[in-house]
């Protein structure tokens, strides 16, 4: 397993076994993608309780229990079904897919990307009202950024925007 960082977003790239400490690390990053030869297991994780809580938040209760209670190994197709990974490609294409995802993230406006990353982490602890308030606070800040204006201008000019992070 490899962890790739792009534009402040980290994602796990899983080609083969993802068990124990690797599995725990994979849960801490923002996104997970896999090759079709990947397999996952909670067996041997250092902190199974924390792992279970984290899984419930990532996947929902039913899917978290499916993974954590019996400690069975799941293959790439099942990891995709559970939402543990969000993309599975042939093993030979995994490197290119990872580079493509990194490029896709780097092409996005960095301030909005960081705001979305932070907000999506915070939302589950908030009531809908408080979550909407948080989203609005970010929105007010982001709409005044140069990157937002650049994105809109590029949209109307039908060209690719260039972002500066301002």
């Amino acid at each position: 397993m490899e962890i790739v960082e792009a534009a402040g977003i980290s994602f796990a790239v899983v080609a083969g076994a993802c068990v124990g400490a690797d599995f725990e690390r994979a849960l801490e990053v923002d996104l997970r993608i896999a090759g079709d030869g990947a397999h996952f297991s909670t067996a041997g994780v250092a902190d199974p309780i924390a792992c279970g809580v984290r899984l419930a938040r990532l996947l929902g209760e039913a899917r978290a229990k499916e993974l954590i209670l019996a400690g069975r190994s799941v293959d790439a197709a099942n990891a995709l079904r559970l939402g543990l990974v969000t993309r599975v490609v042939p093993g030979a294409a995994l490197g290119d897919t990872a580079m493509g995802l990194a490029a896709q993230l780097r092409a996005l406006p960095p301030l909005a990307l960081a705001a979305v990353r932070d907000a999506v982490r915070a939302v589950r602890d908030l009531t809908p009202g408080a979550a909407v308030t948080l989203e609005h606070r970010h929105f007010r800040r982001l709409i005044a950024t140069q990157d937002h204006r650049a994105a809109v201008a590029a949209f109307f000019a039908r060209r690719e925007p260039a972002f500066t992070g301002e």
Binding site: D30, L58, Q104, L113, R117, A119, V120, R124, F139, L142
Partner: protein
Amino acid sequence: MGSNAHTRWWADGPIGYIELDNPPMNVLSDDNRRGIREALAEFGQAGARAVVLTGAGERAFCGGADLKEEEELTAETVGTFLQRGDETFRALREYDRPIVAAVNGWAMGGGLVLALWCDVRVGSTRAKLGAVGVKVGLMASNVQLSRLLFEGRARDLLLTGRTVEAEEAHRLGLLSSVVTPEALMDEATAWARDIAARPPDVVAALKRAVNAALDPVAAEPRR
């Protein structure tokens, strides 16, 4: 039955219909925001038991905020803009009858938010969902996607802003069924009829209960 420049609404027996009609992309206008709320109030008085929300044409359900309108927002007017959007979304969420979104094409940005605040979503094979906020340097649909998909999948859509086609949306649970464009309104009507056939008080209580089910409990901090 009623209409304004960008919205039409009518009732057929126990089912109310709202159509957003602002071609070509059905971007969300003030007429839409007002129309949705007027229609819901009217349906409520007429005793409608379920509502279907859709977009006119084959291209878009709702293209989200009008970027031209948005471009002109200032620090003073952005608050009103957000509030008007929020009032519309809340009107759908808090309406005591279920609302079925018939997603006939693009649902992106604020248009995706609109679809996600409905209670059931059915789509045509032309349905395309995009949490595109991040692509234009903004943020939208965080709250809804995080609740509907849990964090793992929500992050994938929110952080990349990528397009989700109808089949994938079905697999993710964002669409409850996918049919041909010709069959979409019949499919949405069938869902609305099944809902309308059940005791309205029970249905209203179920909608409220599920809406609140994932709210954090103040006495029980999660961490």
